[in-house]
């Protein structure tokens, strides 16, 4: 039976609310606003009483209706009698009303536009300071490492090197070969018009070695290793493991961050070199098999097009990307909020900020190379 409300006035100033039917939370139940509307039409009401003789089954749907009604009536100085309510519902209502709402710090209303702009500017300033501070701590840690005073576990470092080097080879191989193939196909579309398909070797070789090898390896590592660094350190932050390091006087930057940065700074140029080779191999395979180019001629063209300066530029890209990925991953991990959601946010933020920084760094390095004429 559906829940229903009806009203009558046994005496002046007293509203009797008659409830009938099943008051269950999963069914449709009337709103307390119906009672409020009734009260509005009888301004002299000073007391509410209940008649629940025709109520069938009930659950917390009834109690929450009563709770909201009592709270509403408190504001209107209308007395609500609990008599006539089912015994269990009356007990639950009394229990719910007993809990005082704790005065929470007031949430400020939406600030004016200029204040919000200023707040954002201050936030940006604080986060820039925090990044610079973190970079400073890493520099100090590397200073201690060079002078042989840094404290970290060699086994941990070797494990990280393996995770971000050897374990990433399959993925780097796959993506680099595919990028080489894509570059070869794109080059073929235009160069066929001039009968100059052999220059595909130049395009693939220079693009891979100069920038694409490093960028593709970096994007893979940002998604793979950068996210893993953020999650690992974030979880350590949540579990108070970072605090445990601090109270023992062990610098988390020296013990946890420096080995990770060092591992990526060493491995990224090597992965870049590997990605360059695999990309060229991908272009070579597709040119020799599908596009019908002479393999020997292709190889000679690649050798003559790719100069040592291109290789150095690629390696410098890899080195810079290594620092960016490790710093973004570790910074986000250490700044992680102490919740499960915090780890998710830290991981996402590590990947997004690393990839954005990689693109920005690529643009800056390309501009510098252009200015220097290399």
């Amino acid at each position: 039976m559906p829940a229903k409300l009806s009203f009558n006035y046994p005496q002046t100033g007293t509203l009797r609310v008659k409830l009938s039917g099943d008051w269950q939370i999963y069914a449709s139940i009337p709103s307390e606003n119906e009672v409020v509307a009734e009260l509005a039409s009888h301004q002299d009401t000073a007391q509410i009483i209940f008649d629940t003789s025709e109520v069938g089954s009930w659950d917390s749907g009834l109690v929450s209706f009563l709770f909201r009604l009592v709270r509403d009536c408190e504001h209107k100085n209308i007395q609500v009698s609990h008599q006539g309510l089912p015994q269990g519902a009356e007990k639950l209502l009394t229990l719910a009303l007993k809990v005082h709402t704790r005065a929470m710090p007031e949430k400020s209303a939406r600030n004016p536009f200029l204040e919000r702009v200023a707040d954002k500017a201050l936030e940006l300033y604080a986060s820039t300071l925090s990044v610079l501070n973190f970079l400073g701590e890493i520099t100090v840690a590397f200073g201690r490492f060079i002078s042989g005073k840094a404290y970290f576990r060699r086994d941990d470092f070797i494990g990280i090197v393996q995770k971000c080097g050897a374990n990433a080879l399959w993925l780097v191989s796959l993506i680099s070969i595919l990028v080489g193939i894509i570059l070869a196909f794109i080059g073929a579309i235009q160069l066929q018009l001039f009968g100059a398909q052999i220059f595909i070797a130049d395009i693939v070789g220079i693009a891979m070695v100069r920038v694409m090898g490093a960028v593709m390896a970096a994007i893979i590592m940002a998604g793979r290793t950068g996210a893993s660094f953020a999650a690992e350190l974030g979880l350590m932050q949540v579990n108070e493991e970072i605090d445990a390091f601090k109270t023992l006087g062990i610098s988390p930057v020296e013990f946890l961050v420096m080995p990770r940065v060092l591992a990526l700074v060493i491995m990224m140029p090597l992965l870049t070199l590997y990605a360059d080779f695999m990309g060229i191999a991908g272009g070579f395979l597709i040119s020799a098999s599908v596009l019908g180019l002479n393999p020997v001629e292709y190889w000679h063209h690649t050798q003559s097009a790719v100069r040592l300066s291109n290789l150095w530029i690629g390696l410098i890209h890899g080195f810079v990307f290594g620092i960016i990925i490790a710093v973004c991953g570790c910074l986000r991990g250490l700044k992680c909020e102490r919740s499960a959601e915090g780890i998710g946010v830290a991981t996402t933020s590590a990947v997004v900020s690393a990839i954005t920084s990689i693109v920005v760094a690529t643009a800056i390095l390309t501009f510098i190379c252009q200015v220097l004429g290399v």
Binding site: L235, N239, E241, D243, A244, K246, T247
Partner: protein, 257 residues
């Protein structure tokens, strides 16, 4: 190092904040050498924030924390780190380093701050594990043992360097009554054997009465310390209904007023 009966820790006019909100104002208390001092109060009253200020992880809004008369928060980082080596801390969740075995967890501070050989370190590790009843567990990882064992292993790490001040953050949280009792007994043993000064942050009444020499009660509503003294004396003599309500779980007649 302080002498017996002299304050090792003094807290003066301390204001604490959590996420930009002031949670506690004007805290004043002192802890004598060899004493077990309980910081008690309801959930969210700022007990753990106070602990973080005491162990040097969070700067207070204002006020002073003195260790043997030296104001911790006015020292430079190097001095603070030196002072922190006097502390052993048992965190609420244990905070064992999950990628280390229990033995490695305990050995790390020894490798860092002592000149013991690898063999001697292993002996100390075994001793510390034996003290907390975990002999033979040195090769286990934290994920391979129970929560109560993790707490005890974390205590073994906290006492690795024989600290003269040991902090416990909710030591009984998440433990069954027997494990909680075992940890209380360990706290008492540490006081007797090491002569350590011990600060315990808790709201477990059984622990408060069984181990506490003195206690401070923090109150969320007034954001202040509302009582200090021996817990049993507070229960017997306090006229403040908030104190009685807390110490009797609101069960004593009239306490719920």
């Amino acid at each position: 190092m302080g002498e017996t009966g002299k304050p090792v820790i003094e807290v003066r006019n301390l204001d604490l904040s959590y996420a930009d909100y002031a949670v506690m104002r004007n805290l004043n208390f002192s802890v004598n050498k060899g004493e077990i001092f309980i910081v008690m109060g309801g959930s969210g009253c700022g007990k753990s924030t106070l602990l973080k200020v005491l162990i040097g992880l969070k700067e207070p809004l204002k006020g002073e924390v003195l260790y043997d008369g030296i104001n911790f928060w006015q020292q430079d980082e190097a001095v603070q780190q030196k002072m922190m080596r006097r502390f052993g801390v048992l965190y609420q969740g244990g905070a064992l380093w999950s990628s280390f075995t229990l033995g490695e967890n305990i050995a790390l501070p020894l490798q860092l701050y002592t000149s013991l050989s690898a063999g001697q370190i292993q002996e100390v590790v075994e001793l510390k594990l034996a003290l907390v009843g975990l002999s033979g567990y040195a090769g286990f990882y934290p994920s391979e043992i129970s929560g109560g064992m993790c707490k005890r292993a974390a205590l073994a790490r906290a006492i690795a360097l024989d600290p003269d001040i040991i902090f416990f953050d909710e030591p009984s949280a998440g433990l069954d009554p027997l494990s909680a009792r075992m940890l209380d007994d360990l706290i008492l043993q540490l006081k007797d054997t090491l002569g350590a000064t011990i600060i315990v942050v808790t709201h477990e009444l059984a622990s408060i009465f069984s181990v506490g020499d003195n206690a401070a009660l923090l109150d969320t509503e007034s954001k202040s310390m509302i009582a200090i003294g021996n817990p049993k004396n507070l229960l017997a003599n306090s006229s403040d209904p908030r104190v009685i309500r807390f110490l009797t779980r609101g069960e004593r007649q009239g306490a719920a007023q």
